[in-house]
Each structure stands twice: as C-alpha cells, then as structure tokens.
Symmetry: C2
Amino acid sequence: MGLREPLKLIAEDCGLPVALEAMGERWSFMILRAAFNRIYHFEEFQSELGIARNILANRLSRLVDHGILMRNPCPDDRRKIEYRLTEKGLALLPAMIALRQWGEQWGSGIPSTPVLVDERDHQPIRPVTIRAHDDRVLGAQDLCWRQAEEIRPLSMSREEEAQAAE
Amino acid sequence: MGLREPLKLIAEDCGLPVALEAMGERWSFMILRAAFNRIYHFEEFQSELGIARNILANRLSRLVDHGILMRNPCPDDRRKIEYRLTEKGLALLPAMIALRQWGEQWGSGIPSTPVLVDERDHQPIRPVTIRAHDDRVLGAQDLCWRQAEEIRPLSMSREEEAQAAE
DNA sequence: CTTGGTAAGTAGTGATTCGCAACTTAAATC
DNA sequence: GATTTAAGTTGCGAATCACTACTTACCAAG
C-alpha cells in the first residue's frame, strides 16, 4: 500500500526527517522561494510557478498547517487572501540559500543573475558554510557526533559566561 | 497528463530548481544523510532507512546520474558495490545541516542527541547563517537582488585584489 | 440589481510514482 | 554442488500529480 509512513518516525534522533516532513514535497521549496520574493496571493503563485491549482491549494494548506505560512484575509478585498511567511518560515532562509547556492555552483554552472546581495553595501553574500563555535569554517571531515552529556564548555567569553549564568 | 516538467525549466535565474531537480525527491536527503554517516552499501541503506528496494535502487541511480554519489564495485567482494559521496555530494553538507537545524529548532523541539560537534575541540557547531562579505550575519530583511553588472568591488584586501587580477 | 469579471479553491480524469512482496542474477561461502 | 548474500528487477494495488473544467464568493460597471 502506498500508505506512506511519516519520515520523522524513522530516525528521530535527527531534525532532518522533521524538516522533510514539512518541506520535502515537490513544490514546497519553490513556493517558499516565491514567498520570499514577495509573492503573496494564490493567483500570483499559480502564474509564477505554473503549478496545478489543486496541488497549489494543497501545498499552501500544508505549509499553513505546519506554521510556515500564515493565511490572512485581505481587509480591502475580501476575496483575496495573503499568504505570509511566519517566523518559522523565515527561519528556512539559510537552508534555501544553501540549496540555491549548491544548485548554482554544481548544476550546469549558470552564473545566475540576479545575484543576492547585502542591502547595506550591495556586495554579494558569502557561500553558506558550517562554522565552529569560534567561526572557523568546517568541512565534512571536521565533524563528528557526541552525546549531549559529553559536551563541556571550554574557554567561555565574558558575554557567553554571563549568558550561561542566567 | 502527469508528464512532469523538470523544475529547472521554470525559473532558470535561480539555482534552487536545479538543486530540487537532483535532491527534491522523497528519499534523496535521507539517503544523503546516511551516506554522510558512513552508510555505503545497498543493504545498509535499505535496513537503515526502511525504504522499498525498487525505490532505493531508483534513487541511488539518480544520485549517481547527477554526480552526487559514485558507484564503486568492491575489489574484495565483487557482489558488493560502494556508494560514496563525490565532491559535489559533499558540497550539500551545508544545505543538509541547515535543514536539520531548522527541523530541530522548529519541529516539536527535540533536543536532538547526539549532537554534531567540531572534531577538534568537541564543541557544538553554530547554527548555519547567511553572511555578508565581511562575515556579518544577515537576515531576510537585509537582502536584496542585484544584476551582476551592478556589483562593484569596494575595499578589497590584498589577497582578493591579487586573486581578481588573474 | 443584473451582468461580467476576478480570486480562491474543488472535482473529475488519466498518467506517474510509491510501497510492498516476490523473483532474479551473480558471486561468495559451506 | 547447495546455501547464503548483495544488488537489484518485476508485478500489482494504492496514493499522488497534473491538467482541465467547474464552483463559490466577492467586487465593479451599467
């Protein structure tokens, strides 16, 4: 039977299945990207993405159910509904940018214009990387797993000590 | 007809559709995660993930086709085949970690043990963030789009100037 | 207040994919 | 030679996807 088991039940030690449960379907990330690009209404999503209407309705509902989008009826035109990113939805930006940058760099090498830049000085953003607590950039070979109990704080800064003491 | 158009044809200005074309299917990220966790063989993936065998075979082939995994017959046991991450596959680590961290933080708030730590000092890694060229952390409101031509270098370091002059 | 148009969503219909189990092939092991 | 193991492949029913057409609620013009 195609009764698909939620992915999050498979490896609960990890947040990845939880994230995929919410965002792992075919159009979810494209809808999220559109929402970041100030697309707010059903018809806008539909014409922007070319997605089938029933699928779009289903995805938007799912994203709302997962608390990634919020559904606000427009006060000025009560036919219209605005889908807006919640805080939880906005928090997906690093994941989306990381995916996007990977696609740019490794997928058929498109220079990809327009470029995403820092609004303050209009310089391109850096590639998204894994960072150690002291901001060193880490690769896959620099990482390993530890139980939470094994982690011991070493050489806190003043700020961090003050924060930890709360 | 369900003849699904590749997502990358829809918005070519962006690497996201390209990334989703390769990694957007149901099990792809779970397989990638397993590969990062030193799962290399078909039967290991199968028992680790509980995925159907035909789907697993299909996904592994697709990931190999996309250059994310490489398929190496084992010299010692010629029945066995090792699926190993390529450089392109390893480059997905930031995207995967970003997704994982989002799932941890926003999905039912699991503390998530074991924790991913820096191998050098066994301290937990930082949350993945968007960074400006000078390493400032940026949020969604700090970003905007620019044409590549509009970007002008300002205040290069010696190294960057030397690199740009090549 | 009726007609036309727009926004959002639903229903119907095939094509495709998914999930499960059983089967196949080739190589290693007993 | 017989059995076991690794890596798939095949067949089938269920779920999902995509396309089109239809519906409902609302706004706007005449």
